[in-house]
Symmetry: D2
Subunit: 347 residues, 4 copies
Amino acid sequence: MDRLRVGVVGASGYSGSIAARLVAAHPRLALAFATSDKWAGDTFESHQVVRLEKGAGAAARFVANASALEHAKDCDAVLLATSAQVSMGLLPAFAELGKQVIDFSGAFRLEASAYPRWYGFEHTAPAWLSRAHYGLPEVFGPAPRAGVVANPGCYPTAAILPLAPLLRERLIEPAGIVIDAKSGVSGAGKRATEEYSFGEIDNDFRAYKLFGHQHTPEITRALDRVAPGVTLTFTPHLLPIHRGLFATCYARPRPGATAERVAQCLADAYARSPFVRPVAPGDVMLKRVAGTNLCQVAATANDDIVIALGALDNLVKGAAGQAVQNLNAMNGWDEALGLDALQPFSA
Amino acid sequence: MDRLRVGVVGASGYSGSIAARLVAAHPRLALAFATSDKWAGDTFESHQVVRLEKGAGAAARFVANASALEHAKDCDAVLLATSAQVSMGLLPAFAELGKQVIDFSGAFRLEASAYPRWYGFEHTAPAWLSRAHYGLPEVFGPAPRAGVVANPGCYPTAAILPLAPLLRERLIEPAGIVIDAKSGVSGAGKRATEEYSFGEIDNDFRAYKLFGHQHTPEITRALDRVAPGVTLTFTPHLLPIHRGLFATCYARPRPGATAERVAQCLADAYARSPFVRPVAPGDVMLKRVAGTNLCQVAATANDDIVIALGALDNLVKGAAGQAVQNLNAMNGWDEALGLDALQPFSA
Amino acid sequence: MDRLRVGVVGASGYSGSIAARLVAAHPRLALAFATSDKWAGDTFESHQVVRLEKGAGAAARFVANASALEHAKDCDAVLLATSAQVSMGLLPAFAELGKQVIDFSGAFRLEASAYPRWYGFEHTAPAWLSRAHYGLPEVFGPAPRAGVVANPGCYPTAAILPLAPLLRERLIEPAGIVIDAKSGVSGAGKRATEEYSFGEIDNDFRAYKLFGHQHTPEITRALDRVAPGVTLTFTPHLLPIHRGLFATCYARPRPGATAERVAQCLADAYARSPFVRPVAPGDVMLKRVAGTNLCQVAATANDDIVIALGALDNLVKGAAGQAVQNLNAMNGWDEALGLDALQPFSA
Amino acid sequence: MDRLRVGVVGASGYSGSIAARLVAAHPRLALAFATSDKWAGDTFESHQVVRLEKGAGAAARFVANASALEHAKDCDAVLLATSAQVSMGLLPAFAELGKQVIDFSGAFRLEASAYPRWYGFEHTAPAWLSRAHYGLPEVFGPAPRAGVVANPGCYPTAAILPLAPLLRERLIEPAGIVIDAKSGVSGAGKRATEEYSFGEIDNDFRAYKLFGHQHTPEITRALDRVAPGVTLTFTPHLLPIHRGLFATCYARPRPGATAERVAQCLADAYARSPFVRPVAPGDVMLKRVAGTNLCQVAATANDDIVIALGALDNLVKGAAGQAVQNLNAMNGWDEALGLDALQPFSA
């Protein structure tokens, strides 16, 4: 059985680096090439402690980003671990070559009109916005085999997974949702700034981008597909840890939304999902998911409010792992292939 | 000028230990005695790296908790860094001897009827509940000189300081407030349990006691004094750090509650406060307050919601520092005495 | 092809828990049972976020430690993640049933006379001490198929791997070696003590057991097999992290021990090892190995001294991963089976 | 009584920032000015959460580094928290104006011939090298009132304090000392590089600059003044914490160097020192000193080796606090003035 050949563009960032390792260790994938301007020419193994068991040819050394399209002829699928502006150009190019494309950025998650405000640029490939499948398979199903995938953001994944079933079952009001989310620092990518230096982050905690984070319209849009009328406030915070993301979501209850009922709703929704784990609210813990492709979810309620929780590893279920899961799903394989041997780091 | 002689009961816990050091280094206080069953008989300096410059007599060695009342004859004021049930017995005893008493626990912060539900016991000294001054001086003023003080909880301090001025100025609705708070682990005190061991906390983040934390009625009661009709949801979370507490508060805006107006409201309210610092929301950071008696506050708004933030060191402004501040205030001294040389650890 | 059926005794500790997951995810192993008195009766999945894909029968729920022998009839191999005193009794019992046994403790790593001083007990199964294979396969080869294995300690693995080739090639003096080692806290196991609580470990660093750590005779004995005359000083320290162990070793150079030569010696020794990675001294970093079964090693020298470095994950290459590697080796399989998909947590 | 007016050059770095706060809160000092090109024009309080109680005039806002000499006419003493090359030019200029100068850098700690190799530049003010007092008052006494001070490095302070008494009492051999030291990241200053970003440091541990750290000749030179013939190996490592430095030192024992004798030697040497605290080896802990001007020291021995430990806060006793201590000492005041209210962060 031939392996699907996968290229990774942007393989020196945190999620690109994990993506390359997941591809290299996957039983049905082979790493076709990995690009990084910073590491171009270096051997894969000089930067990845994990050895490239199956890497012959182009994957043995990192290649320049500019050579990505040239290497595409030798691959079946491409993972774009690139910024939104770079992805906006690359996704159509690879897609038109007939490659499966999974984009980690926000470039294909919104409608065109939202980009100037939330991303600061005009969208130059608006035709692809409607063709890109929003790749949260537990809520929106697998992408078509020949499709392109907008891999969801880390915050959206952690918020949508606990909220979507509650909205679908009409247990919460779609208007006035509050999402108070907390992310490890790797969500910001590798940074060469004083602001993200160890001394400035360690022992700190802060909120940022109040009312202004670009994941706000992404969450709204995705939830609105589930239950029209969604409005929400999203407040991201920075945790003094490397990996892990926790979303605490507040919504007004609709009739019948008891503590038992909202918990059962999540249990039912994800009973057959390999990666979404409904648990009791007090058992949602970053230590149980960081390092894995799992997302823990929980919900409870009193007369005044419903609280829904989500926890995941922002680099795995929030990025590289979800990308591989999407690749598995669109190729008709077990969604867990190449992802179920990942171990939590702290549990 | 004679120093006020202060005893610390429960001096081996995190906040009791800091309280003893603050007393020992304070220009108008002297440590009269420090109790700890765990350390009874040991020299003060064997457990406190800081030397007891002014400690003669009883303070040179830790004494047993049971001897606290006996030592009280030799002191003017007592800090109770004890559990609620212990404080419930000790506060009346010391107060009846005419001592100034500042209690760190929740034993005198609520009305009697609330104790069975929130603290799990019947209150045995209900007469003192109305006599105890809720010691948040920036909002409720200094205690009378001969008074007893219920030192506020760490979460309540961080939530009340940003919310009270907004409620007083009628910029937010009192009903339906959501307080999503995150605390360092020392808030739970010294723990000899696997649950609080390093390996279980490091790199983790979790919510706990949803709908059930005992600070819920305390915050409600204090804010209700400022604006009747307060109802709220309070969700505490555990940060993987030792010290520091951050509260993100959401409230429905009332007419006129623009971003500018809510920020100005806090700026005006705390213009002359030595310890409460109104800043921009993005500048509220644990690293700037941990180690000090400061509380940073901020507020902003859009059409849908007002967000108010508070950040402090749970062991200082949330416990030992606030106790000394209360002692300063009730004795008519500068509130900052003995507290303004504390340095932030990370900034 | 049938899977080897493996039981894990002591599956609720840090290394036992990882061992159970590694067995469950291994392509040629199946988890036969997992014991834990603390979790007895609970489902495997209530404590292990990773689902037990292949677990039927006894492995579906944790069983009591006392039932380990009874379950042994249904297994081929046993991993003992138990204390030295418990292992001392269990290893002979399982071995006499013809099971492959791998013991994580120090119970079978020394000669009998060393136990009273270093472990505080008389050895009750001295006959098995010479039969137990010291399971560091890169230095001492695989255990025989029918054998029992004393899985090396975490500190010994990190120190022996960089030092053994230098001793074998006579590039360093065997006498007067200094090993200054630093370990993450999980090396001490799960602890329900104030000493190991988060607040006491976070931001701290300390040395412990100077001249008295039980790994001292183990390292001495193993290195002495490589080059007689080894004497050494071993100083362990506690790092404020969960996982990872770093050994800095100092030795007197013998003639010819240049920086180039000692580096080349390690490169040659481990050229074909899947898990030991010789790198430059500045590239030995816990972040590259924590989470994996890798050990990075390096060596350099000047006229006065040779410095050799080793870094590994104390729970994986220092415990559970090495145990699976030993199982692979003694069954004649690829040593990396079931271990090469582990990802570093921070790189 | 007039306060001594002190300027701080380089007040936006970690140690410069702490130095400015210590000066501002000191009972006999007043902050005359604080320079920082990054913050020039900003108010002191916009970057320092601590308010400048006594700051009128020039200190109310940060001024440009280039204006330091101009502001010097209005001050009595200057703290140089600048790089070695900048200090090399500034110290003579301030000293010739008759100011007391304390330099935090390594520019005046070595002999001229050592600078090209260890600091990469030729020394341009060699005449001042012999005039600069090496400011470790516990070992080398106070500087003369009119003097200039080379404030010791952080690693040297932590290694010299435990080793100097042992050398002076001839309890250890001066040749062949090994210093294995571990420092928090703030020792490297504020860094805007990926290498020092949170994600690269958190959960990591590494050695660096083997055989090449510039503190090697500084330690050697200082110890050689105590006992001629010192040779040493110094290996620095990076701890994943912000503040704190721990030195583990190994030396060959001389006759009579029992465990009791080496411990007593340190106890005697520092019996009257306010900041150096001899303790048992197992009690040397970063958590007890980080945040304070204390250095814990310990020593023990067996027949083969003497181990001496030192622990301090690299930004306080290893930099800013020691500078204030030197200022106290050279002005004939209590060495602890303005330093004894500092609290440990974690104990």
